[in-house]
């Protein structure tokens, strides 16, 4: 039996998530810290940052410390009809920090389903994303968007790539005022403006979003969203999963139902995922893929319970104290269930509840 109080926040989460993913048939995926540099150069569009730590191996080959896990899983995965590979991982990756602009080691946890991905897999993946946050936080939400619908609506009102990029930026910011300006700049008529504006103003509870979308559009993608929504109704945290088109995770990498997760009290997303068929195609794979990553490092401050004391008892002894007496005292404290630190002097930074002094007085 594991005493959870001894585990750090990251260890606790890893343990809970491992139990969760295993229950759904995801197998642990372990890999080395290094990968051939060429993999990242060929696929740098898919990386959060194109900067990686590179070095020459002893055989002269240029290697890199992994900045991403998904690329390696896809590269090493089987690509055959009918094969579906479900894995979860818990790996350190090395990326440039957004705040310090220096390299940082980040623990990345997540899962991948690679192969003949269908609507069930999408539903399972989104449900597991919700359950992952449910295992960590009391209040959270998962927001799901549909990039295929987003792309379809945008190109139906104006088939211009620059317009699409500017419109998507506004939608991601829920910025209706600048979206109107962009539409006017590219000559989108009022009906088109109304339609595209709907993608900013309609969000929230899934059924209500579907209803509002049906009033404005008649698109097969909405029925796909309705099917997914009905399937999600049966998931453990159904009420925490909402629709929101401001989720526009990198469109080079993702397609279809992309999603991200937030926890109450956090200031940034703590989970991101979706299908990445575009990446699969670029890597010359015929099958699809869906997955997500949980950013445990972004929640550490939020849920870390700071301990008041490092140890229950500080046991002090000196050169004249009988070592056997020290050992038996330590054993007796441990046997009674309290923690003890045997020291010859009081350590400056150690926080203790009480002192037991074995030193011979004056």
């Amino acid at each position: 039996m594991i005493d959870e109080s001894l585990l750090s926040f990251e260890e606790k989460c890893t343990y809970k998530l491992r139990a969760l993913y295993t229950k759904y048939g995801y197998l642990p995926y372990k890999m080395g810290k290094f990968e051939e540099y060429e993999l990242y150069i060929r696929n740098k569009d898919f990386l959060v940052s194109d900067r990686v730590i590179a070095f020459n191996d002893t055989n002269g080959k240029l290697m890199a410390l992994k900045p991403d896990v998904t690329l390696s899983i896809i590269k090493n995965g089987e690509d055959a009809p009918g094969v579906k590979q479900k894995v979860f991982y818990n790996e350190n990756v090395y990326r440039v920090s957004e705040s310090t602009h220096r390299f940082k080691e980040i623990m990345q946890t997540g899962l991948e389903c690679i192969g003949d991905v269908d609507i069930y897999d999408i539903c399972e993946c989104i449900s597991l994303a919700a359950e992952s946050l449910g295992a960590i936080a009391d209040d959270f939400c998962i927001e799901v968007s549909n990039l295929d619908l987003l792309r379809g609506v945008i190109s139906s009102v104006c088939a211009n790539e620059e317009f699409a990029a500017e419109a998507i930026a506004c939608i991601s910011e829920k910025n209706r005022h600048d979206l109107k300006t962009v539409c006017e700049k590219y000559g989108v008529d009022e009906d088109g403006q109304e339609k595209i504006g709907c993608l900013v103003s309609v969000y929230g509870e899934r059924k209500s979003v579907i209803g509002k979308l049906r009033e404005v559009f008649s698109l097969p993608e909405i029925e796909r969203m309705a099917t997914l929504s009905e399937m999600l109704d049966n998931s453990v945290f159904a009420d925490k999963i909402k629709f929101d088109f401001s989720v526009v995770n990198d469109m080079n990498y993702y397609n279809g139902f992309v999603f991200r997760g937030f926890v109450d009290g956090g200031c940034r997303r703590v989970l991101a995922g979706g299908p990445h068929d575009n990446m699969m195609k670029k890597m010359k794979r015929t099958s699809g893929a869906i997955g997500f990553a949980v950013y445990l490092d972004r929640m550490d401050d939020l849920f870390r319970e700071s301990e008041k004391y490092d140890v229950d008892t500080l046991l002090l002894y000196d050169d004249e104290t009988d070592a056997a007496k020290v050992a038996s005292s330590v054993r007796s404290f441990v046997a009674s269930g309290s923690s003890v630190s045997a020291q010859k002097s009081i350590p400056e930074k150690l926080r203790y509840k009480k002192i037991a002094d074995l030193r011979k007085k004056g």
């Binding site: 209040d139 939400c141 927001e143 910011e173 829920k174 910025n175 005022h177 600048d178 929230g204 401001s246 937030f262 926890v263 109450d264 956090g266 200031c267 940034r268 997303r269």
Partner: protein, 208 residues
């Protein structure tokens, strides 16, 4: 409690007037004292003044749930926030200005002095013009007068400072105004309150 970051200065005072008229007042903010945080417990809001360029940082990092920042700051620093409303306050333009007699002959690298290095770089990259950016933190207008730069990229409100220094606007890059912004995560959990405030503020926007 909803935390609201206001930009210090004249613009911030106008923004607070809007909040007050929209029904989100906090009388203690009008008191002449050195307090930094002002709370209206009944309304569940807390205002605080910060440097205008820091508002987006407070909001992006979640120390403030919402705030008011200039579009110049939002374009320059690209914070990951929602931009909910154009308040149409503090209207001005981001411009390229230079000495009246200056003509860009496009034969040498253009020296550009500015506080807004991203905006200036993006603008000239769009024109395919080779530039040398000189990052300054204030008194930008001095740069072309003393020969430090050929042009400046800066905010122009009335143009009086330019005129008095024999400078003129050569091109307008983009219009600027104050925007109501929200932290993305806060919007998920305090969305109803934030939307209510945004709607009330919308009623105070001068659409002229």
């Amino acid at each position: 409690m909803l935390n609201i970051a206001l930009p210090k200065g004249r613009l911030g005072e106008k923004v607070y007037d809007m909040f007050e008229k929209a029904g989100y007042d906090c009388p203690s903010i009008r008191e002449n004292n050195r307090k930094l945080i002002f709370e209206n417990e009944k309304l569940g809001i807390r205002f605080f003044w910060v440097k205008p360029s820091d508002v987006s940082i407070y909001v992006e990092r979640g120390a403030a749930d919402i705030g008011v920042a200039g579009k110049d700051i939002l374009i320059e620093y690209k914070p990951n926030v929602y931009e909910l409303l154009d308040l149409r306050l503090g209207k001005c333009r981001m411009c390229v200005a230079a000495k009246k007699e200056f003509r860009d002959e496009d034969v040498k690298v253009l020296k550009v002095a500015t506080k807004f290095t991203e905006i200036a770089s993006d603008y000239y990259a769009g024109l395919g013009r080779d530039i040398d950016i000189i990052k300054l933190n204030g008194s930008i207008e001095l740069a072309p007068i003393l020969g430090l730069s050929d042009v400046i990229v800066d905010i122009v409100e009335t143009g009086t400072t330019l005129k008095e220094n024999n400078l003129e606007v050569k091109a307008t890059i983009l219009p600027i105004s104050a925007r109501l912004i929200a932290n993305k995560a806060a919007f998920k959990f305090k969305g109803a309150e934030i939307e209510k405030i945004a709607e009330a503020m919308k009623g105070q926007v001068n659409n002229d």
